[in-house]
Homo-oligomer: 516 residues x 2
C-alpha cells in the first residue's frame, strides 16, 4: 500500500501481494459488498463448512448459530458476535490456525461434491470480522479424541498467515466431537434478516437430515428440526475425467505418477478408463501402450490432451460420486413449503462439462401457496446450498426466460414456482461469493431439457384442468336446464313422474365426479 503522495508519474513500480491481501482489497468479489450482505455471507459460509464437516462423516448435522448484539458501530451498522457450533468431523489441531487464518488453505481442493469449493469463504468471514472490529477469532475443536483444542487467532493479511494469540488444550471427558467458531463483525442485521431467515428455511428444505438452530440478536429462536436421520452416502472423491484434462493437469500427473507405461498411467489416473478403453485410445492417438509417460515430449503432451478431448469412446463420468436430492426428497420439501395443487419433478441423467460430472434436478409447482407475482418464483440450489442473490445472472434464469411458455399453456401471471438444483464435483460458479452459476452450454442444455420435461407435464395438467373447467360449465348448463326440460316434457306427456335426470347428466360427463 502506498501512503505517500505521488508526484510526476515516472516508471511503474511493481509489488507482490498475498492472496489474503488480494481478497481484502477486493471484498466485492467474495460477496462482502455491504454490511447487510457481509453478515449474510459470514453466516452462510460458516454454516456450510459445518454441514460439510458433518456430512463427510455421515453424521446427521446439528448446527447451532447464534448472532448476538455487541455494540453500535455507525448509524446504520452494529457490531455482532457470531458463534457457530457443529457436531462435524472436527479439525486436527495442527490444521486449525491455517484453516481459519490463511486464505487458499483448506480441505476443499478435491474432485468431490462439497458445498465449499474455494477454500475461501470461512476465512473471508473471519478476515472481514477482523478488519471491521479488530477482534480475534476463537476456534475450539475436537476430532473426538482425548483432547479439545482451543485457539485465539488473527490473520496477518499482508503475509497471508495466521497469528496464534493463544492456544489451550482441554480434556475431552465427554468425547465431544465438532467445531465451534466465534468472532465479531460489523454488519446490518436488520436489513440482512429476511435473506438470512430465507437461507435457513431453504437450507432446511434440502438438508432434511440436519438440525439447524438460529438465535438472532433479538433473542428470537428459529429451529429447523430434522425430518430424518437417513444420511446420504458421503460424497466420494473421483479421478479427473479425460474430457476435462488440460496440459497443466497432465503434467502434474506425469510428475507424480508411479506408473511406468502409458497403459497403466491412463488406467490409474483417469476416471472411466479401463483396459479396453485405454487400448482403443492409445491406438487412436498412435501411442505405444508401453511408452513411459515421463518420456513424453512437450508436443506429445499437447497432442495427448487434444486427443483425450477428441476421442469419442470414453464413458461419461460415473455419477456415483454425486449426491443429488432425489425426486422424493425434492417433492417432500416443496410440498411442505408451498403446498401446491400440482407438482412435478424431474431428475436428469448425469451429464458432464469440462470433464466434471453433474446432475440437474428440476421441479415445477403450480397453485396452492405459490405466490402470484407476475413472474415465476425461482428457487435455486447448488450442491444443496440455496442461492439467494443475483438471480437474473444465473444460467437457470436465462433458460427460464428463453422458454416458449405459450406452448405449455403457461403464462407468467400464473402462480408457478420453479426449483432447480445442480450438483457437481465442481459447480461452475461465476463468482467467488457463490451467488450464481456460469452459463456453461452443457449445463444450460441439461436445465433446458429438464425444464421442458416438467413444463410438458404441467401443460398436460393445465389442459386437463381447462377441460375439467369447461366440462363443469357444460354440466352446469345441463343441470340448470335439464330439470326444466324434464318438467315440461313430463307435463306435455301428461305424466306424473319426472324422469331421473341424474342418469342423463352422468351419461354426458366426460370426467369422473371426483375430478371436479
Amino acid at each position: 500500500m502506498d501512503s505517500g503522495v505521488s508526484g510526476k508519474v515516472a516508471q511503474a513500480t511493481f509489488e507482490e501481494i498475498s492472496a489474503s491481501d488480494f481478497f481484502y482489497r477486493n471484498r466485492d468479489i467474495a460477496g462482502l459488498t455491504n454490511p447487510s450482505r457481509a453478515i449474510f455471507v459470514a453466516i452462510r459460509e460458516v454454516v456450510e463448512n459445518s454441514l460439510d464437516a458433518a456430512e463427510s462423516q455421515k453424521i446427521p448435522p446439528d448446527i447451532y448459530v447464534r448472532l448476538s448484539f455487541e455494540s453500535e458501530a455507525t448509524k446504520e451498522t452494529q457490531i455482532y458476535k457470531l458463534r457457530v457450533q457443529d457436531n462435524g468431523s472436527g479439525i486436527q489441531p495442527r490444521f486449525i490456525p491455517s484453516a481459519f487464518g490463511q486464505v487458499l488453505y483448506g480441505s476443499k481442493y478435491k474432485l468431490k461434491q462439497m458445498r465449499g469449493t474455494f477454500g475461501l469463504g470461512g476465512k473471508m468471514a473471519v478476515l472481514y470480522g477482523q478488519i471491521t472490529t479488530h477482534q480475534p477469532a476463537f476456534v475450539t475443536s475436537s476430532t473426538g479424541g482425548a483432547k479439545i483444542y482451543s485457539f485465539k487467532l488473527m490473520i496477518d493479511i499482508q503475509r497471508n498467515r495466521p497469528i496464534i494469540l493463544d492456544r489451550k488444550v482441554l480434556i475431552n471427558k465427554d468425547g465431544w466431537r465438532g467445531t465451534i467458531i466465534e468472532f465479531t463483525l460489523e454488519g446490518d442485521y436488520l436489513r440482512a434478516m429476511p435473506k438470512i431467515l430465507e437461507y435457513f428455511k431453504q437450507t432446511a428444505m434440502v438438508n432434511p437430515y440436519a438440525n439447524l438452530t438460529f438465535v438472532d440478536p433479538k433473542g428470537r429462536f428459529y429451529k429447523f428440526t430434522r425430518a430424518t436421520t437417513n444420511m446420504p452416502e458421503p460424497p466420494k472423491e473421483t479421478m479427473p475425467h479425460p474430457y476435462g484434462v488440460d496440459v497443466e493437469l497432465l503434467q502434474r500427473l506425469i510428475q507424480i505418477t508411479q506408473y511406468k507405461t502409458m497403459m497403466e498411467f491412463l488406467k490409474g489416473h483417469f476416471h472411466r478408463v479401463g483396459e479396453i478403453t485405454a487400448q482403443k485410445f492409445l491406438e487412436f492417438s498412435a501411442l505405444s501402450p508401453s511408452k513411459n509417460p515421463k518420456k513424453l515430449t512437450h508436443e506429445e503432451i499437447v497432442r495427448l490432451m487434444q486427443n483425450l478431448k477428441k476421442f469419442k469412446d470414453f464413458l461419461p463420468p460415473d455419477a456415483s460420486c454425486l449426491s443429488p436430492l432425489g425426486e422424493e426428497l425434492l417433492k417432500a420439501g416443496i410440498m411442505k413449503e408451498l403446498k401446491p395443487d400440482y407438482l412435478v419433478v424431474n431428475q436428469r441423467k448425469p451429464s458432464t462439462y469440462a470433464g466434471h460430472p453433474f446432475i440437474v434436478e428440476m421441479a415445477i409447482a403450480y397453485g396452492g401457496d405459490v405466490p402470484k407475482r407476475g413472474n415465476f418464483v425461482i428457487y435455486r440450489f447448488a450442491n444443496k446450498i440455496p442461492l439467494l442473490y443475483d438471480e437474473a445472472s444465473d444460467v437457470s434464469y436465462r433458460v427460464i426466460s428463453a422458454m416458449n411458455w405459450r406452448r405449455y399453456k403457461v403464462s407468467p401471471d400464473m402462480p408457478i414456482a420453479i426449483v432447480v438444483h445442480i450438483c457437481s464435483t465442481k459447480v461452475p460458479y461465476k463468482t467467488v461469493g457463490k451467488e450464481f452459476i456460469a452459463d456453461r452450454s452443457e449445463v444450460r442444455r441439461e436445465e433446458a431439457n429438464a425444464l421442458r420435461e416438467v413444463s410438458r407435464q404441467l401443460g398436460h395438467f393445465l389442459t386437463r384442468q381447462e377441460h375439467v373447467h369447461m366440462e363443469k360449465k357444460r354440466l352446469g348448463i345441463f343441470s340448470k336446464y335439464l330439470p326444466k326440460i324434464a318438467q315440461f316434457s313430463t307435463m306435455l306427456a301428461r305424466q306424473e313422474k319426472v324422469p331421473d335426470i341424474d342418469v342423463l347428466l352422468k351419461s354426458v360427463q366426460k370426467y369422473g365426479a371426483e375430478e371436479k
Copy 2:
C-alpha cells in the same frame, strides 16, 4: 491435486494452494468460461494493460493486435497466436518475468484510476494459453533506454512463479519504447468475433486519442484511427479517504508512518484532511493531537476507525485524480456511432463509496440509428473499458429497470440507447473478469439521479415532439378545410377574390414553421 482413489472417508487433509493455482482451478471467475470467451478476455486484458501503459506516460496509445491461426485443436476450437504491441511506458527488465508470469504481482495496486485493478488479467491470459497449448510466452520491452529486453517465459502454476526459459538483450538503436507480448492459446474466434469487434469499436469510442489496429485470423484489417492527440492528464495516485478506512488499513499506516503525532498522521496519510479538519476531528473523537499513533491500543484503533466513518465534516473526495470522459467527448462518440435525433448527456458531481471517489456519466440517445429492440440498448463503460457481458447483473441495469419510465413518456419499444460510464480509483466490479458493477448503494443512487436528469430532458423533448405532431395534425385539418370554407364564403358573399388563408393558418400556429 489428489490423483489416487480415496477409500473410506477419514480425517480431512488440508493443503495450501498458490494464488496461481487457485485461479487455474477457478477459471470461470476470471471470465475464462469457454473457448469463445477466453479469446475475448485474453485480447481485452492485454489491450487494457497497453492502454494503461501509454496513458500513464501521457503518450497517445498506438496498439497493434494480431490474432493468427496456428492449427486446429478440437472440432470447435483452434490454436491461435496472439500478439499485442504497444508504445507505452515499457517495463524494466527486472519486473518483466513476474509481471507476466506471477499472479497477484503488478503495478496496479494503487489508489488511482486505471483499467486494470486486479493485477491478474494479463497473467490469466498467459496462463490460459499455457494450459491449453503448453507453449511459452514471449515478452519484449524497452523503457526507451539503450537496450531492449526479450524474455521467453512460462508459469510454474503450483508455486506461482515465472520460469525464465530464455533471455536476450538487444541494442535499442531507434530509441523504441513499448512492450510486445506474444503467446498461443486455444479458442473459438468465430464465435468470439462479434464481441471482439464490438469491444474495439466501443474502446475506440471512449478513447478517441488511441490508434487501435486489429488483424484477425482471416487477415481482415480493422483500424480505429485517433481523432485527437489531446491526452487527458495521467491519473494521479491519491491517499485513502477517511470514510473508506478499515482497521487493517489503519494498522498498516501506523506501522509505516514517520509521523510522531496524531495531528501529523491524519494530515499526512489521508485524503482531504488539513490542519483545521484534523483538529476538529481529534476533538470529536477525544484524541490528543500530540498522541503518538504508534501508541494507540487495539480498542483505540477500532474507535478511531468508527469515528472516521461517523465524523460529518470531512470534505468529499477530490475528483482531480479521476479522468471522466466529459460531456463533449461522450456526445461526440455517441453522435458518431448512433447519429440520434436527440441526445442529452449528464455528468454527475464526484461522489464516494467506501472512501473511493467516483463519477457517473450518463447519456440517453433517441432515434436516428438507435435500433428499436423492444428494450433499451445499454452501453456500459467503467474507467473507459466497455463492459460487454452479463448486462442484466450490472447495477445500471437494475437502475434502468426500476425507473418509472411512463413518467417521462418513455416506453421500451422506443429507439432509445442509454450510455453509462463510471470512473473511479476503484471500480466496484463484482467479478474478477470485470464484467459488471456491484450493487453499491452509493453508485446506484448516483446512477439513478443521472438517469432521472437525462430522462427528464428526454421527456421534455418527447412532449414537445408530441405537441408538434398534434399541431401538425391540427394544422393539417385547418389547411384541408379552410380553403373550402374560404371558397364557399367567397361564393356566398358573391366576392371574386378568395381571402388569403395563409395569414389565417399562421395565426393559429403555435410553433415556428421550422419546427415542423
